[in-house]
Subunit: 202 residues, 4 copies
DNA sequence: TATGAATGAGACTTCATTCAT
DNA sequence: TATGAATGAAGTCTCATTCAT
């Protein structure tokens, strides 16, 4: 990316810059999760990040780029941590368990981010949409390959099973209630068990 | 609600009124499904319904009420048709199949409506939110009771299973592609099989 | 006035027509007094008069005409009843007392109307404004002539005194409180006394 | 009030800001005096103030707040200047004269403002109404206390006399004509004389 | 590096009015 | 005599964005 807007080259970014930037991201995550991307206002993000409204535009060239950054970062992290986990496992069932655990853990620690990823998929367009699509597909592909190890590579079944799996996982933000102290690991295990038994028996 | 805004009492609504009203609803469904509730503009709904912008407000007192009408009607229809199907079936597995089929059929015939129901759940607030919540919970309860017949009423498992089920079903609009002529009945069967085997084995 | 809008000629107006018309006028008076002319909506006037919104336009060709009718009728009545009272009195002081009493009595019985007359003087324009201006000036002239009998026709003083008098009288709607059971006759007497002593001593 | 809308904290307001702000206030005063509060459009205020429509909302959070600012400022000024005058006078009659003069002078220099104060008293509601009510009552109380010095504190008479006085004063905008070069000091004196003689003789 | 000030576009909504019936 | 249905104009307000400083 060329530096057209005065943003410092990565090398010059100091820790102050990083701190502010992630403060903005966190604020954006919270506000967009609550109000939706269209409903969220840059004003409120700025207020929550404790910088002036126009300060946002030092860090991001547009509201769209803000959403892009949020989504891209979340998917990248998800992929990275999943790959790390998978690298140490060989049994298909353990590997599938890693998929569930990884997703649920990320969700537990970054609810707002994951909600924004799931709910605002179609809020971007153009270049930002394409870039996010790419990582999303990478994540999808990675998960599908693990599912395939269990289903035995019957393509049609694997595809549908993976889509069903994503549906279950992505819906979590709709019913998970922080306050209720639900044990997310148990949820993960239970979801895994149903899914695993389901695909194996089919 | 008192009739201060000239909306005729139900008894006097003629067929012309009904035709226009459902034309508005169809337009709204399409636009909101495409742009999201916040992103959708009443102007465009009106244009698609071929009435003047202010004409919308003869039929609905606000954009919110429009969304409410859409969601409430969809859930009510879903419940009604499911109840009709269930009334004629007694085997738990047939009944569970009815749940899947009913949902997928409704989706196939009313994609936009279902997307609006799933994606814009949190776009309402206040009285409209509450009213929709009520029918949503009714639908959820109905489905859960059928799932319970299969899981054997172990409450915790039934709950999670039902939530997982809804996740799978509600996610469909994200990947289903009309153009690709996917056979929705097959999808329903496949989803059913995985889910059923999953919960039975667990 | 020519009959362009299908309004029946006076001769054909039956009592049903009269009843509805005054129901509309009463409703308009109340709503306009409360919300101001601009703030008042024809819709609400119709609702309060228990006819359909477009029904108003059978009786009045526009919102402006409605205000005109209200104001013109009020001033005419005020003039008429004052003239009747004056016709029977000869002492200047009694006649001035009649002015006060007449105004206060009309106010007591038609608060909304008088408020609309006082507060919405400038809300009309064009022909309606001119017509109301005429009766207003007639009323003003009448009162001024009575004041002159007391001040002894020194023009400048009479003018200012009359204006001061109208100010006092017209302001009443701002502080008079129906609920407090204020004795309007006492108020009239007291206002008269101060004014009379004031102009006589000057 | 928290500063969520970018309005600078008082300390940081520069003179440019002040200049624009009073330009907006002046424009608003003129437009609202002419068209009434409901009839006035923010658009026209902006045009007269030579800023963009939305620029208004940088200075005021709503049309209501604009009216509030106008009214509150006018009454505060009126009170302040009256208190200054009264501080230097001891004779009851001189003090009453100060009341008249103060009011008339303020009117002469700020006709639009005073008209807006008098005519749009009921155009506000909620918090803005309450705040203005408070200063209005303060002004009323101040004037009443001066009147009481002359009437000798007979409460009922003092009250009515003060109300009558305000009526006379507030009505001025209805008949005072700038073009006619009326001598406002003479008007003040004449009004004072009538009122003073009136209450003293009663 | 950050923001105060401003803006143009566009949003939802209300309103007086009309006209066929 | 009255109204159901519809509309165009206008209104207030919010928003993402810009730019001089």
């Amino acid at each position: 990316m060329t530096q057209t807007n005065g943003k410092p080259a990565p090398g010059r970014r100091n820790s102050q810059y990083q701190k502010r930037l992630s403060s903005v991201l966190r604020a954006a995550s919270k506000v967009i999760a609550r109000d939706g991307f269209e409903g969220a206002s840059v004003r409120e993000v700025a207020a929550k990040a404790k910088i002036g409204l126009s300060g946002i535009y030092y860090y991001f060239e547009s509201k769209d780029e803000l959403l892009y950054a949020l989504q891209h970062h979340a998917f990248s992290t998800l992929i990275e941590s999943l790959q790390e986990k998978l690298a140490q496992l060989s049994s298909p069932e353990d590997r599938l368990k890693a998929v569930f655990d990884n997703h649920f853990q990320y969700f537990a620690n970054n609810m707002d981010d994951l909600k924004v990823c799931v709910h605002e998929i179609e809020s971007l367009s153009g270049k930002y949409y394409k870039k996010v699509l790419k990582v999303r597909q990478e994540y999808y592909g990675l998960v599908k390959s693990v599912v395939a190890e269990v289903t035995g590579r019957k393509n049609y079944a694997t595809n549908l099973a993976t889509l069903s799996l994503f549906g279950s996982l992505n819906w979590v933000y709709m019913w998970y209630d922080k306050e209720k102290n639900i044990d997310i690991d148990k949820v993960s295990s239970q979801f895994l068990r149903v899914f695993l038994n389901g695909v194996k028996a089919s």
